[in-house]
């Protein structure tokens, strides 16, 4: 057991898979010699060499296209998109190519690759480098989407993504790179499509993702301490496949559901969960399902404005308290 940053967990997760399987190769902008602009891939180039860890030009279409071509002919590529916002310049490969090749070819083609990308706000980069775009990616049939909130989950979900036979988008959160967490020694492999109950509670269910997870946990402590509300906190971790059973099971117990989403409100991931719970657990509910989200705005750069936009633990406490009383 050792303490590791989320940032260092990225390199460890990639290294674990490259060590295990020669077919795993890694490409992206500034990822090799420079070790990544967020220093998430330091040491991989030195350890695995220039044939397996490759710097690319600023060509996001070429990066994803090359990863797809390599994947469909036998490699297991990991492609880095520096910022998740850049998915927009190569979205064809996500929305039209990697997601549809298996279906269109009647199962002849397969696309086992991982796109890792720096998602989310809180780092004052402004509207084109701060977005939470997990909802852009989860709406495409054929793609799997995960977003870890802790160092151990970064390694475990990275391993699961690399070993998965389908294309997986792994959203790393830029504002989490510096956080630390305990990580066991040895190989770590998690399972896609599994949510985690991080705090058990009786009164309400708070479902969160990535940076919103530590905020939801903090809110739960305040709710307990100041308002006597015992909240259960679930880290969704995997949007596709989605572990609805863990969420439905929790709502059956608590009767209240809150989602905490960093993506802007319209068509955010919580809307799908709210819809499922309304359809399948309506009679378990003792109150309205409440979504706590970033408003439907581009993100500002100014720190106090960005802080106002993203859901905070104080806003979570306030929204939960209004429904739950106390």
């Amino acid at each position: 057991m050792a303490e590791l940053t989320y940032r260092d967990a990225v390199a460890r997760g990639i290294a674990q898979e490259m060590e295990r399987d020669e077919r795993v190769v890694f490409l992206g902008e500034d990822v090799a010699k420079a070790g990544g602009v967020f220093k998430t891939t330091v040491g991989l180039y030195e350890r695995f060499g220039p044939l397996r860890v490759r710097d690319t030009p600023i060509s996001e279409q070429a990066i994803l296209g090359a990863a797809i071509g390599a994947a469909m002919t036998g490699l297991r590529p990991i492609a880095e998109l520096m910022f998740a916002d850049f998915l927009a310049v190569c979205f064809d490969y996500v929305a039209n190519e990697m997601s549809k090749l298996r279906y269109m070819s009647n199962g002849q083609l397969s696309c086992p690759l991982v796109i890792r990308t720096g998602n989310g706000g809180g780092v004052r980069f402004g509207a084109q480098h701060s977005q939470s775009v997990e909802n852009w990616t989860m709406m495409i049939p054929g793609v799997k989407v995960v977003a870890p909130s802790s160092p151990v989950d970064v390694i475990g979900l990275m391993a699961a993504a690399v070993r998965d036979p389908d294309p997986v988008i792994l959203h790393e959160h830029k504002a989490l790179y510096a956080i630390k967490g305990e990580v066991p020694d040895g190989e770590i492999v998690d399972t896609l499509g599994t949510a985690k109950i991080l705090r058990a509670g009786r009164d309400c269910t708070i479902v969160a993702l990535a940076l919103m997870v530590p905020r939801a946990l903090e809110a739960a402590e305040i709710l307990q301490r100041d308002h006597g509300v015992d909240a259960e906190v679930i880290d969704v971790r995997s949007l596709v496949p989605l572990d609805t059973q863990t969420i439905l099971g929790s709502v059956a117990k608590t009767g209240h559901l809150f989602t905490v989403e960093e993506n802007p409100r319209l068509c955010g991931w919580g809307a799908e969960i709210a819809s499922i719970v309304a359809d399948e657990a309506f009679w378990d509910l003792d109150g309205p399902i409440v979504r706590i989200t970033t408003p439907h705005i581009p993100l500002p750069a100014a720190d106090h404005l960005e802080d106002l936009a993203l859901p905070s633990s104080a806003r979570i406490v306030d929204k939960v308290r209004r429904v739950m009383g106390g």
Binding site: Q61, G69, M72, L75, Y93, N106, L109
Partner: protein, 343 residues
């Protein structure tokens, strides 16, 4: 057409044939079969047996045949929505191709992909892509795999002149050049990007060849209506790629005899243009070539008759095939064979 190789065989070639009779007959057979299949596809449209859209290669057969015959087993083809010809040229069956256009169970993808996505991994056809330019970077990736694993296959990527104005073209060319990838980019310049003359929307005269220098590549501009010229050029580019010499960009000048798609009557063409190109119809050119080489008329006739018979048999098989079965609707979204996105 100045600077291009002559369409008739020069005298010294007749005495010193680098291609050989077997290959020549093969080049002819492939062109004829593509032509007959494409004409049948057109007829089936008129009978409402083919739905959706379709993009025919009538007039462009020499490019597909030249490459198809030059490529080895294992070399990978990446095609566009105008990909019927290239799929047949790698050995996919007429039943598979026409059956897919007819969206029947007998089709290459059992009707799930349709005419714009013909794929036959068994024949090394790694997909037909309907988003212009998308497959150039994908072909780079397949070539990267060969380079990384030390495998000797080459990826060949076919596309139209219109593709040269999309970003993915330029990203892929640079990427292939800097990584020295075993990939051959083949531009079929049929003079029109969909309905608009390519010259009206492109900064240079030859949309692919004139851009090669920007990526440190040789300028290669050939007569795409002469299967011998295409075949020789293909062999050289494939060998270069196989030997670690990196990518090539080849512009083949050709012409589609029909419109862009089934909806296009091609009224934008200036009078006389089609007639000029019909004189250089690749099949007419090649029939003449075979005669130059002393091939008996009966041999030529037999190849043509055999092709027509194959098309008839394939058409009947497709008509007899059931439509795509309902259980395919939700099959193969994910690798477990199904479509489940939640538990």
């Amino acid at each position: 057409m100045a600077g291009l190789k002559a369409a008739t065989a020069p005298r010294d070639e007749l005495q010193n044939d680098d291609i050989g009779l077997d290959r020549r007959l093969e080049l002819f057979r492939v062109q004829v079969e593509i032509r007959d299949c494409e004409k049948r596809a057109y007829d089936l449209f008129l009978q409402n047996m083919i739905k959706g859209t379709s993009h025919l290669s009538i007039g462009q057969e020499a490019v597909a045949a030249g490459f198809g015959v030059a490529m080895r087993k294992g070399d990978k083809s990446f095609c566009t929505y105008r990909g019927h010809a290239h799929t047949l040229a790698r050995g996919a069956s007429m039943e598979g191709m026409l059956g897919e256009l007819m969206l029947r169970d007998i089709g290459l993808m059992r009707g799930k992909g349709g005419s714009m996505h013909l794929t036959s991994v068994e024949h090394d056809v790694f997909g037909s892509y309907a988003i212009v330019g998308a497959h150039l970077p994908i072909a780079c990736g397949a070539a990267w795999r060969a380079q990384y694993l030390g495998e000797k296959d080459v990826s060949v990527c076919f596309f139209g002149d219109g593709t040269t104005n999309i970003g993915a073209f330029h990203e892929a060319l640079n990427f292939a050049a800097i990584w020295r990838l075993p990939v051959v980019f083949v531009c079929e310049n049929n003079l029109y990007m969909e309905y608009t003359p390519i010259g009206e929307v492109t900064a240079v005269k030859h949309p692919a060849a004139d851009r090669a220098a920007a990526y440190g590549l040789e300028r290669i501009l050939i007569d795409g209506n002469d299967a011998d010229v295409v075949y020789r050029t293909a062999l050289a580019a494939l060998e270069k790629a196989r030997d670690g010499g990196g990518p090539s960009l080849i512009e083949c000048l050709t012409y589609r005899h029909s419109g862009h798609s089934r909806a296009d009557p091609a009224k934008y063409r200036p009078p006389g243009e089609l007639e000029e190109w019909l004189k250089r119809d690749p099949i007419v050119v090649y029939r003449g070539r075979l005669r130059d080489f002393g091939v008996a008329p009966e041999t030529i006739d037999a190849i043509e008759a055999q092709s027509k018979r194959k098309v008839e048999v394939a058409t009947e098989a497709c008509k007899a095939s059931p439509p795509a079965p309902v259980e395919l609707l939700t099959k193969d979204v994910y690798a477990d064979g199904g479509w489940a996105w939640r538990n």
